[in-house]
Every structure is written in structure tokens, then in C-alpha cells.
């Protein structure tokens, strides 16, 4: 018999923080996935909110494209505050 679909589980530790990927599990539908996520991934008060996404709906960038996609950001150092040299006397900036 086939497995139930695979779901990715995201948990928000506390309000104010992002949901974070914590793992996956199998469930037949979203309701069951949420309950299973609660029972599996929040046994130690790890969360206040859960998202589940069926794994087949997650689209990922291709690791082969890593250089093409992400390395062009390497030399855009002017996006970082430390790029700018200001005199020490100038405060609050």
C-alpha cells in the first residue's frame, strides 16, 4: 500500500518569530497533518503555531544554479552598512 502523502512542518516558537522548518511527516490530509505535527513536533512546548505544506507543493531552486543565482550578490558590498566610511565624530548614523 502506498504511503500517505509527505508534509513539511513549520513551527513558530513564539509570536514575533518566523515559522521555521522543523521536519516532515506523513498524513492523509491537512487536518491530520496539523494534528500529527502537533503530536510529533511540539511535545516540549516548541511552538505556538504550526504550518504544514504538502511536500510536493514546495518548489526549490536548483543547487546546480547556486553559483549563477547567489554568487552575484557577493560583490554588492555597497548594500552593507560597513561599506561606508564615516568619521567617528559623526554620531547616531
Amino acid at each position: 500500500m502506498a504511503d500517505m502523502p509527505l508534509w513539511e512542518v513549520f513551527i513558530r516558537n513564539q509570536n514575533g518569530l518566523h515559522h521555521k522548518h522543523v521536519g516532515s511527516l506523513h498524513a492523509a490530509d491537512e487536518k491530520m497533518a496539523l494534528q500529527n505535527a502537533r503530536d510529533v513536533y511540539t511535545r516540549r512546548k516548541e511552538g505556538v503555531s504550526i504550518w504544514v505544506v504538502e511536500s510536493r507543493h514546495v518548489h526549490a531552486s536548483d543547487p546546480q544554479d547556486k553559483a549563477v543565482w547567489f554568487e552575484p550578490a557577493d560583490d554588492k558590498i555597497y548594500r552593507h552598512p560597513t561599506f561606508y566610511d564615516l568619521p567617528d565624530e559623526v554620531k547616531n548614523i
Binding site: 506523513h26 492523509a28 494534528q35 500529527n36 511535545r43
Partner: protein, 262 residues
């Protein structure tokens, strides 16, 4: 007689008895569910069943502690003494909770019938005039509400899943249905507790229970059996044969090695 006994007409033994009824229901159901640990139908549900068991045994601990704290020093007992050193005839749980797990259908039907009952009962008990019980009820209620979502979903899924699951669920309903009237028995103690504002009116609990359970069964394509034999006796300590075996197993170490610390 204590001051509260004068105003309520209740004796420490009455309070103890009521806490035992609630605590023993939780303990025996928790013990039954713990038998599933490691044997669930799939890993996720194995974990979920253990959560139910953990909640229930935790509830039993609080309720039995409350029961054991009633009366004078000579009568007081710990939760463990009550759980491990009473014989079956001193247990006050309803017969439904001691019924064997059977297949997953029997376990989930038993669970659902109890969860609906407990949700209604504890949503009243949070207003109990007996403050320590009301405090426990608030914690219990949160746990039970989740249990009911879980067992309610299973009722629906399995009731109309496959022919086999439907048939198994219907069989479970048929087998367990006649254990439910006992949940609402309105004996002398129950009436006195109600009069004193400690416990709710059982007739209204029953009405609400039926209003919850009957439509849910129908939605799941299940129906209660017509009529038949009705189980009773738990409140008086007259149990089914199953309880003796549950206790023989549960109490083994305390009985074989009395007075030890573990």
C-alpha cells in the same frame, strides 16, 4: 463536622468518592491507551495515542491526589497508594474505560464516546464550587478538547473510509454503546453533589452528549444499536472481569515488593 460539611451537607468521604470516580476513569483509560505504545497503526498515530495516554495518566495523578487528600490524617493517601493498592471493588471508574482496546476502531470509538462526555462534564466542572476540582478541570478541559478533535476526526474518517473500516466502526459502536448510559447515572451521591454545587446535573450532561454524539455518528455513516442490555456497576465497584487483569498487571510491582521506593 467541618464548616464546609455543614453548609453543603457533604462529608470528606463524598468528596473523595467523587474525585475517585473522575480519577479512576482517567487512570484506567490512560492505562488501556498505554497498551498501544509501540503498536500503533502507523508511527504518527502511535505518538498521538501515547500523548492521549500521557494526558490521562497526568489527570489521574491530580484527581487521585485530590481524592487522597480528603478526610483526616488517618484516611489520607497518596495518588500512588490509591492507584496501586486498591482492589478492583474499590475502583469507581465506569465500565466503558476498562473495555479491551480491541482493534483501532474499538479504541477510537471508546475514546470518542468518553471524550465528548469528558468535554461536557469538565466544561461544567470548571465552575464547580469545590475549588481544587475546578482548578484541575481547567487543565483537563484543554487536554480533552484536543482529544475530542482527534478521536472525532477518526470517527469520521473510519466511519466512511472503506467498507472494512465502516464495518469495524459499526461493530465497535454496537459493542460499546450499552456502556454509555452508566456515564450519566444519577445516584444519591451525584444528586447531593449537584445540590451542593460541586457537580453538574447529569440529565443535562446526557442531553448535551446525545446532541453531540448522535449527529457525529450519523455524519460518519454510523448508527447506535436499537436497544439492549445496559452496563452498570462501576460506581459501586462491580466491574467487568477485565478490571482485575488490568490491576494485576498495573499493580504487580507494588504488590510483589510492598513498601519499596521506585
Amino acid at each position: 463536622m467541618s464548616a464546609s460539611a455543614i453548609t453543603t451537607g457533604l462529608l470528606p468521604a463524598d468528596y473523595r468518592e467523587y474525585a475517585l470516580r473522575l480519577g479512576d476513569n482517567a487512570l484506567i483509560l490512560g492505562q488501556r491507551l498505554s497498551e498501544w505504545c509501540g503498536h500503533g497503526p502507523f508511527l504518527e498515530e502511535d505518538i498521538a495515542l501515547t500523548n492521549l495516554s500521557l494526558d490521562l495518566i497526568g489527570q489521574a495523578q491530580l484527581l487521585l491526589e485530590l481524592a487522597g487528600s480528603q478526610g483526616d490524617d488517618t484516611e489520607q493517601k497518596t495518588a500512588d497508594e490509591l492507584a496501586y493498592l486498591r482492589d478492583a471493588d474499590a475502583f469507581r471508574n465506569v465500565l466503558l474505560v476498562e473495555q479491551p482496546n480491541g482493534d483501532f476502531a474499538h479504541t477510537m470509538v471508546r475514546q470518542y464516546l468518553m471524550d465528548v462526555y469528558d468535554e461536557i462534564l469538565y466544561s461544567e466542572l470548571i465552575r464547580s464550587g469545590w475549588q481544587p476540582l475546578a482548578d484541575i478541570a481547567r487543565k483537563v478541559l484543554k487536554e480533552i478538547r484536543y482529544h475530542k478533535q482527534h478521536s472525532g476526526d477518526w470517527l469520521w474518517r473510519l466511519g466512511q473510509g472503506t467498507d472494512e473500516s465502516h464495518q469495524r466502526m459499526q461493530q465497535a459502536v454496537d459493542d460499546l454503546w450499552f456502556y454509555t448510559p452508566e456515564l450519566f447515572e444519577n445516584d444519591d451521591l451525584q444528586q447531593r453533589l449537584q445540590a451542593a454545587g460541586v457537580a453538574p446535573d447529569m440529565a443535562s450532561i446526557q442531553t448535551r452528549w446525545q446532541a453531540g454524539v448522535l449527529p457525529a455518528l450519523k455524519q460518519a455513516g454510523l448508527r447506535p444499536p436499537e436497544s439492549g442490555w445496559v452496563a452498570t456497576g462501576g460506581r459501586k465497584g462491580h466491574h467487568s472481569e477485565h478490571l482485575g487483569y488490568i490491576l494485576a498487571e498495573m499493580q504487580f510491582l507494588q504488590r510483589a515488593y510492598p513498601g519499596c521506593e521506585w
